[in-house]
Symmetry: C2
DNA sequence: CACGGCATTGCCATTCAATGGCAGTCGTGA
DNA sequence: TCACGACTGCCATTGAATGGCAATGCCGTG
């Protein structure tokens, strides 16, 4: 009857999650593999009713954080990209590093990577590839595994000990193949990297792909704190990645110098 | 007295602005010239009390949209950069265009620009510069004026008529110098661009800088809709930008083809 | 054609999340 | 010394946000 309908109307107004968190949960539902989402998908991904989702999404559109394509699907908005471009550890770092990275590409015609650590994830900030570059399974602006890539290992080697342990405890998987390394081996490797100041890797990234070789060096701030890793990933057939070290190091120190001159990550105090 | 104090406590809870809007107002307070902000600056920029601002900022930090430097100043967070990198019209477009842009840089050793239209603003998505490249006053990921740059003019030429009129009504200023063009002249120019499919500019970008020359072509989707402009900005001393047109056009069509093949801006329906 | 899924709009009673002021502490730089 | 900024609590207040429901329309699919 009408009584019951009226009673069930407008109940359960909210259960606690702050609006900001909901909003960023919406934005976080997008990923490199899901760049566009329909309303229902968005609602399901966040476990929230469609009505709430639509209202929220429309507000995000008004803010420019989302856009709506002609077919009605949601995509991340240009305004959000613009804001994100102001992140010092993202575009700021990239801005400084880019010219040196293009130099490396011109010299090697291979893949050049710039990666940073965010929490317990390795994140590729920039990836340039020459024309005959080796195959690379990692997307630009995507994650990079910490325990079997040269850039990842460099980041891990100079990370807080707590983070190292945490990562080493996780099961190490390498795409379809298992990682041919034990925590003990990785630990030894990290120590070596801290001694040498670089990392060389020769490996088969995925089954059924040709072998690759790579070299990585850290980029420091203030001469000690490691804030990023610079890496070249090349064809592995009889290649000697150590030949890349001089130019890699030169690029890394040049980038570090420019960063220290800029406002980047000033310590203040 | 205590009575008055108790009375004045906890008044004026909120006056209407949705939380999302407040949050993005905070994020919007950052700019290329203000990449880091202290709490008080942030509060002033948004016209909101410090207590509210701090609470909101902390929630944004929890979401990864903001980060706090060691000196206490706020900066845009890496997570926001990551989300922004998923914007099809930002990083998505850039991803496809980048290899072709680096080719252009290698060939010309000059500045190569990729720009799109967002609302009534021209926005640089990517800017690469060769080593001896001409001086360019526009920042990567910054705005680009629509009425006196080759890329801007191309974007404007294929924009909705309403937007064109709106832009032409605004006072045209070119850094310190006035723009040597009337709305009438610009209008004629836009018509020419629509006919030719390209734009050539020879100009002095700023007083006391050497002259530059530039060429720009549109990048289309589905063969008709213009979604971006590709441009080369070179030294202007006796240079003939029209010589760049063949390679520019080749790059633009290659980019367009790849975009149409990808999910980019699918029209659905 | 009927059906199910999706998008959209509107309404509504219900709260709890968000608010802004204030007080007090601490550190710092002028 | 003083002024300013950052930070932490506390608190009464209230309106923004919520989730359900109903109704409509628009596809594709079976």
């Amino acid at each position: 009857m009408a009584v019951e309908a009226a009673r069930s109307r407008g109940r359960k107004p909210s259960r606690g999650e702050p609006v900001i968190d909901r909003a960023f949960a919406l934005l976080g539902a997008f990923s490199t593999s899901r760049r566009s989402l329909a309303l229902a998908e968005l609602a399901r991904a966040c476990g929230q009713p469609a009505s709430t989702t639509l209202r929220l999404a429309n507000r995000l559109i008004a803010a420019g954080a989302l856009e709506r394509r002609e077919d009605g699907r949601f995509v991340i908005g240009l305004r959000l990209w613009e804001m994100g471009a102001l992140a010092p550890r993202g575009m700021g770092l990239r801005q400084v590093a880019l010219p040196h990275m293009t130099d490396l590409v011109e010299a090697t015609h291979e893949n050049v990577l710039l990666a940073v650590l965010d929490g317990n994830r390795g994140l590729i900030i920039e990836r340039l590839s020459g024309h005959q570059a080796a195959y690379m399974p990692f997307a630009a602006t995507g994650d990079i595994p910490l325990y079997y890539t040269s850039a990842g290992l460099v980041l891990l080697a100079f990370a807080p000990a707590m983070l190292q342990e945490q990562v080493l405890l996780e099961p190490m998987t390498m795409a379809p193949d298992p990682v041919p390394a034990s925590p003990r081996e990785v630990r030894a490797r990290l120590a070596q990297i801290r001694r040498d100041g670089f990392c060389l890797v020769k490996a088969v990234p995925l089954s059924a792909t040709p072998p690759v070789a790579s070299a990585a060096v850290p980029i420091t701030r203030g001469g000690h704190e490691v804030i990023a890793a610079l890496s070249v990933v090349m064809h592995g057939q009889g290649a000697e990645p150590s030949t890349l070290l001089p130019s890699l190091r030169a690029a890394a120190t040049a980038i570090a110098r420019e960063l220290d001159m800029a406002d980047f990550g000033r310590v203040g105090r």
